[in-house]
Point group: C2
Chain length 201, copies 2
């Protein structure tokens, strides 16, 4: 029997990571998130921060990112990271049922595992508050609105280049939840229940 994997795609600043960890704790499963970055860094020799920036978003957005993705003769570093990421995510999923946050796991695992594919989003107001107060990741001197917009664009571009899916399009998910409207706890509860019903069949 195939392992059932919960994949959580999420908008930057939507608390998808916190929700993933809460779901894993409720279900007694592993939750893979930044460990994937660490593993890619170990196996590739790239710096972890470099991997983070190139494992789910492009360093550039739009046209220029497509150009750098179009190198026909050699792999770019980002291609190398994508291949390692695919390998590592498959290995983790083979170990047993788990929660994987981000990293295109929904796309990478689509043919080999049973998936509960979740997309988490939030209002921009909440996302801005979260990235400035909680994540403390807003770059110095930059407006959080701009950080958010740039990140959204880079993540969408990454999906365009490496998958045939459209980031945030409901066709590719089993459930899409707004953490702003529902709250983090309710989102985690709903995902947990959906997983329990799915695996009880």
């Amino acid at each position: 029997m195939k392992n059932t994997i919960i994949t959580i795609s999420r908008q930057y600043g939507s608390a998808g990571r916190a929700i993933g960890h809460q779901v894993a704790e409720k279900l007694g499963l592993e939750c893979y998130d930044s460990q994937i970055i660490t593993k890619i860094a170990e196996e590739s020799g790239f710096d972890a921060d470099y991997v983070r920036k190139n494992s789910e978003t492009t360093a550039e957005s739009g046209f220029f990112a497509s150009l750098t993705g179009m190198d026909l003769y050699t792999f770019s570093n980002r291609d190398t990271i994508w291949i390692l990421q695919s390998k590592i995510i498959n290995e983790l999923a083979e170990k047993g049922p788990c929660v994987i946050v981000g990293r295109c796991a929904d796309y990478i695992l689509r043919d080999r595992f049973d998936l509960l594919r979740v997309f988490v989003y939030a209002d921009n107001e909440d996302r801005i508050r979260r990235i400035t107060e909680e994540y403390k990741e807003a770059e110095a001197g930059k407006h959080p609105e701009k950080v958010l917009a740039a990140n959204d664009k880079r993540r969408a571009t990454y999906y365009d280049i490496y998958t045939d899916q459209k980031f945030g399009d409901y066709h590719y998910y089993d459930m899409c939840l707004s953490s702003s409207a529902l709250g983090i706890d309710t989102c985690a509860h709903m995902i947990t229940e959906a997983y329990e019903k799915k695996t009880a069949e």
Copy 2:
């Protein structure tokens, strides 16, 4: 205190209507669906079937529908139906908390009520099975795939003309659920729980 209204937008053939009725039954609320058609027909004098075809989808799709929506000097019949639909949906929401299936209720009520905005979708395979076996609405001599595609297009066009929302875009919903992945009962259960948590606050 504002009434909390559950609005269920849904893809044609996704069982959104069945889910809406199940939610209403669980919560002891009214569920409004085809009654809205009947009321519009009564107040306008139009035939109920004509109202059904022009209250949520356009009779045409795309460019021609935009043209007929662009009459600057007189109301089209569809405009008249839209105005009556808005009035009737507001009146129903004022009566008390309820479930409203389709009819752009999420857009119509957006400023005056607390909403739990749900979008229900399904795999095409399930939708085709449902419209041919359960709804028995497939038109004679037409492939169900074509009926589905035409309906999707007309519904999207209607949203384009009458609202500033994009049908099925997660930004406009609090939760989007696949009835194929989760099942009708789980969808109804999840919406019921989300409503209970929202109104308990």
